[in-house]
Amino acid sequence: MDQSRSKLTFSLVIVVGFLTVCPVVMLALGSVSEGLTAFGDFTPDKYIKAYTDPALLDVMVNTVIFVLGSSVLATVLALFLAYLNTRTDIPFKFLFKVLSIIPMMIPHLLFSVSWALLLNPSNGMINTVLKGALSLESAPFNIYTLQGMILVEALLDLPIAYLIIAPAMASFDVALEESSRVFGAGTWRTLLRVTLPILRPAILAAFVLGVVRSLASFAVPSVLGMPGRVNVLATHLYEMISLGFATDYGKAAAVGMSVLATSVTLIYVYRALTAESDKYVTISSRGYRPAVIELGRARIPLFTIVAVLSLFMIVLPVAVLLYTSFVPYTMVPSARAFSLMSLKHWSDVLQDPLSLLALKNSLFLALAGATLGVVLSVFVGYAIVKVKTRASGLLESLSFLSFSFPGIVIGVGFMWFFVQTPLYATIWALLIGYIATYLPYGVRPMASAFVQVHAHLEESSLVCGASYLTTMRRIIVPLLIPGIVSAWILMATMFVRELTLSVVLSRPGTEVLAVQILRFADDGLWGKLSALGIIMILISTSLVVLATLVGARFRTVEGGG
């Protein structure tokens, strides 16, 4: 049995290693090659060309401001919300849960588009309304700026930061704070000297993850940055490989190498931080509730802030898209606008062969990709949790690696690989790329599912007289099903909306939903875009709802101890 286990781990290391290391190696090789077609001859030219590009300095400055700005804002907002939810008597606490799962339902691309529709300087709805109401010369807001990008990216990264900080705060032992109070420190001093330092690993982890995500972010910079010619690294790379006369994959690879190196470093910092943050979990028993701080007069104003934030993050984007999909052109809601409403954009989209093809491709990728990805994740999760060898440790690190992959950079690496194979420009290229990039989203739920299956559960079945096969069928598989379901749904929702990898790998015939939406955005076809976007949201939402229902069904028999 031990031998077959190590064989399994070994072959998984090869498969996962291929998926994650291959694009990195190809990217590295590509960065020192002449081009996609002249692969193999060493040349340092691309690095020289890429790093002496006068535009790069601007791009770097923008990137740093964008990345740090959005990560700081997201972390501060998350800290604020987490504190309100776990430690105060703020009303309507369910809102916080809603706020933390919304990004699953609204793809980043559509969220960015909805903000462009609201706040673009020429005909953004809020701008138009304010211009009329205050009789202004020009639009008061311009979302096509660095500030606009930072705001939108921060709102997108907020839920993830919240999901890291809130549990740390909820498991915080209030006695630590109370003792500080007893020794004479006031509320603020306690917050600064005790609470925040103890939460530091969690806060830093949220911040670092924010940096990795905004560095990889393509939706916000492409929708909000490119119209105002505010380029960051992601859009800089995109321009090199898809715009202009001479696409230069080598130069993109050369720049991509440093983006990738930064991301990989940061993600290992993040991992170390979360490990440390787990050490700080001071309370683990059940039924424990930290003392609740009464907000008093601040209760209503603080709640208003949360309510407005929820409005911005949930209601407004969907409402704007829905509204835009019905009106003939961009206009402020009015009696006239409502009288002009029609299903024209919807029927246009549903008759547009390209959109239908994209829909078909995305659905295929979601269903087939998630299924294959989960099968792989089951084996990887088993090897990581149940087979504790050096090889399984390596496997864990490998499967975690792609968590750091900026889609557009890794896409360039895959490009180099697929060009050498018959898979180039086929849907299979996207499928492999998706699974490689999103593998951690499948492995993590599976690994925690395997952790739950204690060896005794398996052994007691054997002692009861059940054969190994019966044990598999009646004990192990049923216990894993919740993990399998959530891994599948998570991967499927990711694949339905995938943008960053797809913009690199998608070719005529292999269009996917997000790429088609981006194309509508470039052409200013907001109505069609909104109709297609709503379809995309509907697909993701129904998958999430399905996940919640299935999860709830299994939760009734889970837990205990």
Partner: protein, 361 residues
């Protein structure tokens, strides 16, 4: 059924070192008794249990249950756990969280292809036996710790095995519940004709439950006997120390007679129950705190009267725990809580020779 273990060893390899989890264990577990393997953690007791049940394969030796050899290195026999027909209660209970109480208990019968009606009847009977009637449709994980423990017991008993094994089944319960469950378990097992092998590191649990106790250390069985034998008449210092609180005093054998062995030690000359030690050999005198009896007033003058001074005195409710300084020795003693003493008082006490136990070092 009797369990015979002959020459069983089990080795683990870790960081280049070989660890002997079991080191040539020879043991016969008599039929229809509660037999306890007791020892500190890491002594190999759980490994031995897992070898009996078949979840671990020993590296040498032979194990037979009743007339059947279930493991033999030399004869190349290895019966898998599911074919050994035993019952087992795990430390974590191993209650399957996706099944209700009925399905958990019915499982051993279901995998034996027992008819549906017979299963229902036997599960009901077993649940009644462990006092869990009416819990059939509860999700098993929604039960309290003590109830889960009884589900695990019911599951182990339902197929009416001849042997049931317990791997520290009470260690996950809180102190009060542990005591209650211990009593219940003893009552349940007393009603059945079954061989029970029980693993624990809790000496009180072992004393209270067992017909026979085997003390293990470093992969070997050191001593075997009834709870009284182990507590009062242990042969080894390790056993005497492990099974209860004891004062261990270095002593030298001075004389032997028909009834007593007399030793010299830091407290003077003490007459002890007879043990076969050569005159002049080094031994350990083991004194249980509860057998250090105060001499009231000036009386005494009999055997083993010792004078000392109270070093410290702690009130623990039902008794005083005193540390008495006698020469260089500091003895722990237990006095009735109504004595009128304080630290610094001079005291005399007697030691009944029957409770002065000599053990080999």
């Amino acid at each position: 059924m009797e369990i015979r273990i002959q020459g069983v060893s089990k080795y683990y390899f870790s960081e280049g070192k070989t660890i002997k989890a079991l080191d040539g264990v020879d043991l016969t577990i008599p039929a229809n008794q509660i037999f306890t393997l007791l020892g500190p953690s890491g002594c190999g007791k759980t490994t031995l249990l897992r070898c009996i049940v078949g979840l671990e394969a020993p590296d040498t030796g032979e194990i037979s249950i009743g007339d059947e050899i279930v493991w033999s290195k030399d004869r190349n026999i290895s019966i898998p756990p599911e074919k050994r027909g035993l019952g087992m209660v795990f430390q974590t209970y191993a209650i399957w969280p996706h099944m209700n109480v009925f399905d958990n208990v019915a499982y051993p019968l279901q995998v034996r292809n027992v008819s549906r009606d017979a299963i229902r009847e036997r599960v009901e009977k077993t649940l009644r036996f462990v006092q869990l009637e009416g819990f059939e449709n509860r999700p098993a994980t929604k039960l309290s710790g003590g109830q889960q423990q009884r589900v695990a017991l019911a599951r182990a008993l339902v197929a009416e095995p001849k042997v049931i094994l317990f791997d520290e089944p009470l260690s996950n319960l809180d102190a009060k519940l542990r005591e209650e469950t211990r009593k219940e378990l003893k009552a349940f097992l007393g009603k059945l004709k079954i061989t029970a092998v029980y693993v624990t590191h809790d000496r009180i649990e072992a004393l209270a439950l067992s017909d026979t106790i085997a003390i293990m250390r470093a992969g070997r069985i050191i001593e075997l006997g009834s709870p009284q034998k182990i507590y009062f008449d242990a042969d080894h210092e390790f056993v005497a120390d492990f099974i209860g609180r004891a004062n261990l005093v270095k002593a030298t054998v001075r004389a032997q007679d028909a009834e007593y062995t007399v030793v010299d030690c830091g407290m003077g000359t003490i007459t002890c129950q007879r043990r076969d030690f050569a005159v002049g050999s080094e031994v350990t005198l083991c004194l249980r705190p509860e057998f250090i009896r105060l001499v009231r007033g000036e009386g005494g003058g009999g055997k083993n009267v010792v004078d000392g001074r109270i070093d410290s005195l702690i009130f623990v409710g039902e008794a005083y725990e005193a540390e008495i300084r006698v020469g260089n020795e500091l003895l722990l003693a237990k006095f009735d809580s109504d004595v009128n003493l304080k630290a610094g008082d001079a005291v005399s006490f007697t030691l009944d020779p029957a409770h002065c136990l000599l053990v080999s070092i």
